[in-house]
């Protein structure tokens, strides 16, 4: 301990480089001794310092290569990864749409629409049909067609009952039913 204290006294205003007790003049930092590629930052210009293992190439290191960076606890990382992907990516929520009597199905991106009104208008255009107006009591009674959807539990639900955001996260596919069949759904 005394030795260390003596070194501090000898230092004056300048940090002496080299092991304490030696008299070497100040020189470039100790990183010249370093063989390891990871730590040549001091020798590189500020501003061009790169992280990660591939410093020589000058290519930006991918974050994944740096262990423990960014400093997010694995507990938190795991939880985020378990999220359902559709709300995370911008790639859309495509669901199949079938219509009774139509020869083939279509696909639409639910993210494209802001509300039920837009969705139903789009469906009416796509299938050249009339779906009409939703009411809580009557469903789509009186319309030629009624839009239904299959939810996460596999149940067939009437489109319009739940708030829009809830709908788009739980809707797996759409089916436009003939009005006569849909009567059962509307009258509850």
């Amino acid at each position: 301990m005394e030795k260390a204290a003596a070194v501090l006294e000898n230092d004056d205003l300048k940090l002496r480089l080299g092991l304490p007790g030696t008299d070497e003049p100040e020189q470039q930092s100790s990183s010249s001794q370093v063989k390891n590629n990871k730590r040549s930052c001091a020798e590189m210009e500020i501003g061009s310092c790169q992280t990660g293992q591939e410093q020589e190439s000058g290519a930006p290191a991918t974050k994944a290569q740096v262990v423990g960076w960014p400093p997010v606890r694995s507990y938190r990382k795991n939880v985020l990864q378990q999220k359902r992907p559709e709300s995370e990516t911008g790639s859309g929520m495509f669901v199949k749409v079938s219509m009774d009597g139509a020869p083939y199905l279509r696909k639409i991106d639910l993210k494209f629409y802001k509300n039920y009104f837009d969705l139903l208008k789009a469906l009416e255009n796509m299938f050249k049909c009339t779906i009409g107006v939703y009411s809580e009591r009557e469903g789509y009674n009186g319309s030629e067609y009624a839009p239904t959807y299959e939810d996460k539990d596999g149940d067939w639900m009437l489109v319009g009952d739940v708030p829009w955001e809830m709908f788009i996260t739980s809707c797996k596919r759409l089916r436009i039913m003939k009005g006569s069949e849909a009567r059962g759904l509307g009258c509850l």
Partner: protein
Amino acid sequence: MAYSFPEEVLEHVFSFLSSDKDRNAVSLVCKSWYEIERWSRRRIFIGNCYAVSPEIMIRRFPEVRAVEIKGKPHFADFNLVPEGWGAYVRPWIRAMSAAYPFLEEIKLKRMVVTDECLELIARSFKNFEVLVLSSCDGFTTAGLASIAANCRNLRELDLGESEVEDLSGHWLSHFPDNCTSLVSLNMSCLGSEVSFSALERLVARCPNLRTLRLNRAVPLEKLSNLLHHAPQLVELGTGAYSAEIRSDIFSSLAEAFSVCKQLKGLSGLWDVVPAYLPAVYSVCSGITSLNLSYATIQSPDLVKLVSQCQNLQRLWVLDYIEDTGLEALAASCKDLEELRVFPSDPFGAEPNVSLTEQGLVSVSEGCPRLQSVLYFCRQMSNAALITIARNRPKMIRFRLCIIDPQAPDHLTHEPLDTGFGAIVENCKELRRLSMTGLLTDRVFEYIGTHAKKLEMLSIAFAGNSDLGLHHVLSGCESLRKLEIRDCPFGDEALLANAAKLETMRSLWMSSCSVTFGACKLLGRRMPSLNVEVMDERGPPDSRPESCPVEKLYVYRTVAGRRVDMTGFVWTMDEDAATARL
């Protein structure tokens, strides 16, 4: 001969001293005070489990009732400490099971706890009341079953964010029917579903239950049942906050929340379906702590909720809140003291949300009591940091993480030295600082000059030379914990400031430029320090002395060398060459 009080009087006086600092000061007065104090100390805090041994603790303090011990260094949270490094609680539990039969509380952080330890706790301490395992690992739900079954007076069981091997949810059913003492239960880190009826009965029969943090598997539809049994709850962690929307579920949930008039803290909130958030609106005005850091919902929904919580003091949230949401927060929550913003997509190359330095600036402007910040973002500027520093001179904790660790000021492309310099210069009470961004030795000069109250400093990918480290070690008078990764700091500053290390709890340096030779020198010179080298490449003496070590962990200790190290940890001391067990 000095007049002195009878022992009983002194003991009574000392019983009013709760802080360790006060008690330590008292024990230095004279021998008899030392003796009286040590027999009357009931609570022990051990910041580093290797700084002292169980035997030393027991020898000095024979009548302890509560022990808190911390193990692995902080960077273990980010996988920088190799598996098997240490921090085993077993020797502590074994020693205490013999010496402290009346032990009531055990709190552990970052320690390895086995089922055997839990069973030993359950068997040995008849009055056991409080078990807190924060970021621990090594045990399974079978160990929890022992605790539940045998601790008759259990008040608190808090598993924190521990990594538990989850065999089943059956452990909860081990609480006996006559257990009514629970005040706090935190099982949020567990994956398996517990028996809901067992949980419901447990909650119903514990009238003093104040804190209940459920795990994700508890369904939202059943939450109202639990709330009805515990309207006195002060802190609630929900399970997954999603369900098929049904008006009956919604209304019973809303009604259940409305009865919880004491609720101050809300957390959990995994998988939030925004349509269900209004169910909590009735309690928002009382909420002081809100953890939305698992709520993957967009800014408008976050804002709708947060702006109802006018008494909010603490908010943890994902960066989905964006700058606009933080502006709204600043406008509504004038009592805010702590803000943590976590990244929703930490590994993405491009930003996925519009959250910049501006959000933090808004909060620093609008929230006069803001004192604790953890902020993940993708860009920062000196101007923003200077503004934040000037706005909030009472800042105590400031942790900034820019996803690109060497990002410069995005406006001027300069290093962020002046920004962080402003932080330490203005915030004279700053106790904790984490920095990222492009930083030169200059920032360390500012820190050494101004950060006199700084106790913990975390540095990554910063600095140019040993001068940086020297500024910190020689200037920061209150420094207790220093953790450094990927900085060009080497031998000189470390050796020149060796004495400083005895005044600190610990120093961590990984991927720096400290050589094996310097580590050996430090270990030989400073017998009161354990100088541990971790190197998965093999024994450091199989490489030249000038070769830098992978990881270095230095801490002061009165317990001597560790004896429980695995194959990649070496202690440097007098016989440094063959240092490992």
